[in-house]
């Protein structure tokens, strides 16, 4: 890989990042949250859309059955 070796001596060195650790980890953490929310939202909507679509279809079928009875 271009760049070669890992740039940190130890794990605590990696977390500390020469004093910039807090900034870097907050930035990456926030990115993860925003990207995860971007996935979560349409997945939830999809579930809702499918559920309400099926419900609407059931209603149509039921009302047709009722019409036949009466």
């Amino acid at each position: 890989m271009v760049g070669g070796a890992v740039r940190f001596e130890s794990l605590s060195d990696f977390f500390h990042m020469g004093g910039h650790g807090v900034y870097i980890w907050v930035a990456y953490g926030l990115t993860m949250v925003v990207l995860a929310a971007n996935i979560w939202w349409p997945v939830m909507v999809r579930r809702k859309v499918i559920r309400s679509g099926k419900l609407a279809m059931l209603k149509v079928i039921n009302s047709q059955k009722l019409e036949k009875k009466s």
């Binding site: 890989m1 271009v2 760049g3 070669g4 070796a5 890992v6 740039r7 940190f8 990696f14 990042m17 020469g18 004093g19 910039h20 650790g21 900034y23 870097i24 907050v26 930035a27 990456y28 926030l30 990115t31 925003v34 990207l35 929310a37 971007n38 996935i39 939202w41 349409p42 997945v43 909507v45 999809r46 859309v49 499918i50 679509g53 099926k54 609407a56 279809m57």
Partner: protein, 245 residues
Amino acid sequence: MFNWLHRLGSSKIFFEISGRWQVSLLSLSLLMLAGGSVWALLFVPPDYQQGNSVRIMYIHVPAAILAQSGYVMMAGAAAIFLIWRIKLADIAVKCIAPVGASITFLALVTGAIWGKPTWGAWWVWDARLTSTLVLFFLYVGVIALRAAMERQASAGRACAILALVGVVNLPVIKFSVEWWYTLHQPASFSLMEKPAMPAEMWLPLLVMVFAFYLFFFAILILRIRNEILVREKNADWVKRWLEVR
């Protein structure tokens, strides 16, 4: 060619084709995001001036690039909708806006976090920062306008016009670093020129930019499919699709 475009403009055909690609596209983008992040966090050498804070660049720059080209795509879709009245283009405008807003938010916040250790301030009213904030409000404006209007057809047209008017902000963002030479540095990355950074720094950046684009398209597909299902809920093919879910 035009026939092919016309076919893709049909909601049903878009739904069928995108259904085959959505999972692999999202997986690939997540894989590249993970790989690029590990690369940026572990293997990239610290900058000789900025130290390790340069690692924030690997999310800030892709987010900022995507924030702008997302708007270009939204405005393009708006133009297509206004000229040819293709419904799918209106759906695209609607679906790009929230994703674009969230990515612009990310660019602004990661920029602020990067600014603190390197500039000594979270925020300055620099031309580029201000015009990017305007970009964020434009996205939010498109979302709010649609939510505020009841009739879908007129809401679509109004949003398309707003999206097109907002295009004037894009050259302002692009050239802000040259017109007003304030705090934000000029672009460090260009398609045309050889980057001023060594390959070990720009190669992971390229990976992250690509990953962000793929992620954007993957999310867009998820959202557009939902919107198609809602708008075409009375179509026979949607009912058949629902039956097997």
